[in-house]
Amino acid sequence: MRRKTKAKLKKGLSVVYCSLIYLFLFLPIFVIAANSFNATTTKPYLTWKGFSLMWYGKLFDNTTLLQSFGNTMAIAFASTAISVIIGTLAAVGMYKYKFKGKSVIDALLYIPVVIPEIVLGISLLTLFSNVNIPRGMITLILAHATFSIPFVVFNIRARLSGYDNSIEEASMDLGASRISTFFNITLPVLAPGIFGGGVLAFTLSIDDVIISYFTNGQTKTFPLKVMESIKSGVSPDINALSVLILLGTMAVVFITQSGILNKKDRRN
């Protein structure tokens, strides 16, 4: 009897504790969402002036804001593509072949992972400014690919640790060329790792503030647009866009997840 109440109490406490943590994590989201419905039109947009959906309409007239979001997407796609291609080749190459200097490559790959972003940001700034590449979309893509490549490599490497080289040998013994073996045998096996790495690169790129801040020139990404608007008070259309992005992401996640789960269930 006593043990039962004790267990119940324990369970209750853990539920309360976890709820508090979730509250902590979601609190700013609630604040953002609430303010996206604020009817205020005067800076700094903090006084509550009643409920309104007008900012969700105004958002679509704000071309600079929409453009910054478009830029963010374009940069994320381009840098992800680059990092996936280079990262996949590198991960497979480093796994398959033995050569000198591997540990140096490894060390260089770890730098963007552990070093504070600001250091990478300013070092890329000094590079771009020294060789006089105008800052903009191109430099943003190059910078984002730079911090993404290691994550792609490591993700694929995790997948490779259980990889059996003999399938490739078999393929080549059967007369397939190196290239067709790579595309038909190696890539399909690594697909989940490549995909995971790519998505990680994509999400890192979308939310990057610090490195973009130093390498953007006049091009504004969505996070940089937010940074600029914080200076004078974030207008509710930015909140509205953030809410829409979050809802969109969540919707897709839940749909795809339930899809995957259903498939699993069926298989069982």
């Binding site: 006089n132 995971g196 006049q218």
Partner: protein, 358 residues
């Protein structure tokens, strides 16, 4: 565990495809709208100084697209312009002393006033400034004073000088400009020294004075100090006069006080960078920004001291009789501008500032 992450991540990826469809479509749309003219001006201005709506109208009228970026201090602007390659910015908006510095550093080019017919709207008092004789490089825009804002509902004491801001009883109540020359300058003034003091012994005293502010300052904000005043975060401010006017419009308890030592003055100007690839368009933009109707719209949103006499006349009493919007001539007469100092003195200023902010 890894599977969960992979699962989550793959769904995010799927989303991005859908989201991107929308995103890039929007981008393509806006680009094609501007495509016919093909010209884009990169304009670099102070935060909260040039309304986006005014700029949009310029694009409507001329077809020239404008890419507006903002900065928070003259030094920020200078750093960014120098770091970027030539032509990254076409138009900048330096203050008085910074115009002089930009001329000396060769980063701005001469302006052809014959291409700016609306220059005639600028009042004589604002033409031919000491930092740019004959307006060879700059066209005046807006200016003002670094005034004191007091929330009268919270603070009823007599406050009439910069020196009052240093009183320890205002602990944690003050928002000040995030600008080392302005803050050190008023500390000097509060001791009766020059706004641009260079004497090392006096600077040592000034340092002590500046450090008294440390406990009083709650927030450094050059961009929108009015926010802290409106929300009640701070009850005292040292900031741009128009910010006080705007705070007053939202919260009538916030009043402007002109310091009896004579205020810190600033005046900002339009300049064209020497690397600009769109010199004609840049002149068009500056001319547009000197039109009385355009400036009226600017003043409605950012009520600063305005060099455009024609616009000021058209604004009427509500603007010209409000001291926060249109500071009286006798206040201006007592004020001082920031001057360029030698590197050693600047280094001392920098040290004082670092010690204040650490």
């Amino acid at each position: 565990m890894k599977k969960i992450i992979a699962l989550l991540l793959s769904s995010v990826m799927a989303l991005s495809f859908t989201a991107c469809g929308g995103g890039t479509a929007g981008e393509g749309g806006s680009e094609s709208a501007a495509a016919p003219t093909g010209e884009t001006l990169n304009v670099f201005v102070w935060t909260e100084y040039v309304p986006q709506s005014v700029v949009d109208k310029f694009t409507e009228e001329t077809g020239i697209k404008v890419n507006l970026s903002t900065y928070s201090s003259n030094e920020d602007m200078l750093a960014k312009v120098k770091a970027e390659s030539d032509g990254a910015f076409d138009i900048i908006q330096p203050s008085d002393y910074m115009v002089e510095q930009c001329i000396n550093q060769g980063i701005i080019q001469e302006i052809d006033l014959s291409k700016i017919p609306n220059f005639s709207n600028i009042g004589d008092a604002y033409k031919n400034p000491s930092y740019d004789p004959g307006n060879k490089y700059s066209v005046p825009y807006l200016g003002g004073v670094g005034g004191i804002a007091v929330n009268r509902a919270q603070i009823t004491d007599d406050i009439d000088s910069y020196a009052d801001l240093f009183d320890p009883k205002y602990e944690g109540q003050l928002v000040v400009l995030d600008d080392f020359r302005a803050v050190i300058g008023i500390a000097a003034k509060s001791l009766g020294y020059d706004f641009n003091e260079t004497d090392p012994e006096k600077l040592a005293e000034i340092k002590e004075q500046v450090l008294k502010l440390k406990n009083n300052i709650k927030l450094y904000d050059s961009d929108s100090p009015k926010s802290a005043l409106i929300s009640g975060e701070c009850n005292l401010a040292f900031c741009w006069s128009a910010e006080i006017a705007l705070a007053n419009a939202e919260n009538p308890d916030v009043e402007i006080v002109f310091p009896e030592e004579g205020p810190y003055l600033f005046f900002d100007n339009w300049c064209i960078t020497s690397g600009s690839q769109h010199v004609d368009a840049a002149h068009k933009f500056i001319d547009y920004m000197s039109r009385p109707d355009v400036m009226q719209e600017v003043l409605a949103e950012f009520p600063y001291l305005c060099a455009n006499t024609a616009a000021v006349e058209a604004m009427g009493e509500e603007y010209s009789a409000n001291p926060a919007k249109n500071p009286p001539a006798d206040v201006i007469a007592k004020g001082s501008y920031v001057k360029n100092l030698d590197t050693d003195t600047i280094a001392t200023y920098d040290e004082i500032w670092t010690e204040l902010k650490k």
